[in-house]
Amino acid sequence: MERNEQQRIFDGWLDEHRGLFFKVVRAYAFNQHDQEDLFQEITTQVWNSIPKFRGDSKATTWIYRVALYSAMAWSKREKRHRDGHQTINGQEHALLQTSKNKNPRLDWLYDQIGQMDEIDRSLTLMMLDGHSYKEISATLGITESNVGVKLNRIKKRLTEKSNEETNHGL
């Protein structure tokens, strides 16, 4: 694939699906330094994956697959290195969460997602973004029936949690 073509596709994906990148980043990385690190990791992996994209699935499904696997790999790697690498305090950040858009209800939801194991986290992200069981199954490599069982459990747990919480402003 020509580099210009790869660049064109990448720019298009980044413009159109930027939100998807940020959702995965926010679900897997919990401070700004990590979020930037993961964002760069995901964009690099998505860039590298473009020549392998054959158009058999939707672009969003493909990006989700690459982003989630990158995030899981990054997460494992970070856990291994966490003791040796401290976040640099006072470091400047390239991305700023816009304060005017801070949403406590959304923060609560991300908090709940962040407490899940990695597979449940990926399932939840894709479900909330409206992907079908079939797409989720193909992306995460688990059977459709298993996806259904897990998602029902997750929905139930999220609903229960939201009812239990009284102070998060929901």
């Binding site: 860039w47 950040h93 609903t159």
Partner: protein, 214 residues
């Protein structure tokens, strides 16, 4: 609250951008990344100069020792022919050419970079140009690596011939061809995995900045 309400909360983030670009922060991140990239490139250059210097020193040592008659004194059976001397001189040229090629390319690149100031835009342009230069330098990497490998092959040939162990050149040449293939592959991987994504990220960032300015 039912699941539909949770979905509404989730979808609310699609309405407004969650993140904005912080130029000062971006500049700091860019500088840090450039420093890291620069260190990696400097280390590779240093390896080139170090290897060239080492091989040339060894060859000069052999030539001087032979000229002073030290080689014959230590081992009377070993003597360099005039063809050995020619081979060693050619090896010096091969290694020196390699080091000079890298040095002069880098120097030209430094001169090209002088026009840039320390602003975010200029830092970006400088990084893009640097990355392009490093990618271009690795385009004909096999051709670049051949002279030093020929040089090393000639030195080995002379040494093994002088020791009457000519057969040793066959496994050594095989090892060198394998090493050449491995080094070439690792440089291509560096381009594919590090440099091209870096270039793409920098160019995207430049476009975004240009768009935000307009």
């Amino acid at each position: 609250m039912d699941f539909e309400a949770i979905k509404v909360i989730w979808d609310s983030q699609n309405e407004k951008p969650l993140y904005a670009l912080n130029e000062t922060g971006l500049h700091a991140v860019l500088r840090e990344k450039s420093r890291r990239f620069g260190r990696l490139m400097f280390r590779q250059e240093l390896e080139t100069y170090g290897a060239s210097l080492f091989v040339i020193t060894v060859i000069l040592f052999i030539l001087v020792a032979d000229y002073l008659g030290l080689v014959a004194k230590v081992s009377p059976a070993v003597a360099l022919t005039k063809w050995d001397v020619v081979a060693l001189l050619v090896a010096i040229v091969c290694w020196a050419q390699y080091a000079i090629l890298i040095y002069s390319g880098r120097k030209r690149q430094h001169q090209r970079e002088r026009k840039f100031t320390s602003s975010l835009r200029d830092d970006l342009e400088r990084d893009i140009e640097q990355t392009r230069y490093q990618i271009a330098a690795r385009k004909n990497i096999v051709r670049g690596f051949i002279p030093p490998h020929i040089g090393s092959g000639l030195v080995s040939l002379v040494i093994f011939r002088a020791m009457s162990q000519e057969w040793m050149i066959i496994p050594l040449m095989t090892a060198m061809v394998v090493a050449l293939a491995i080094e070439t592959r690792s440089q291509r991987r560096l381009v594919k995995r590090e440099m091209l994504p870096r270039l793409q990220a920098l160019e995207s960032l430049r476009d975004k900045l240009a768009k935000s300015e307009s």
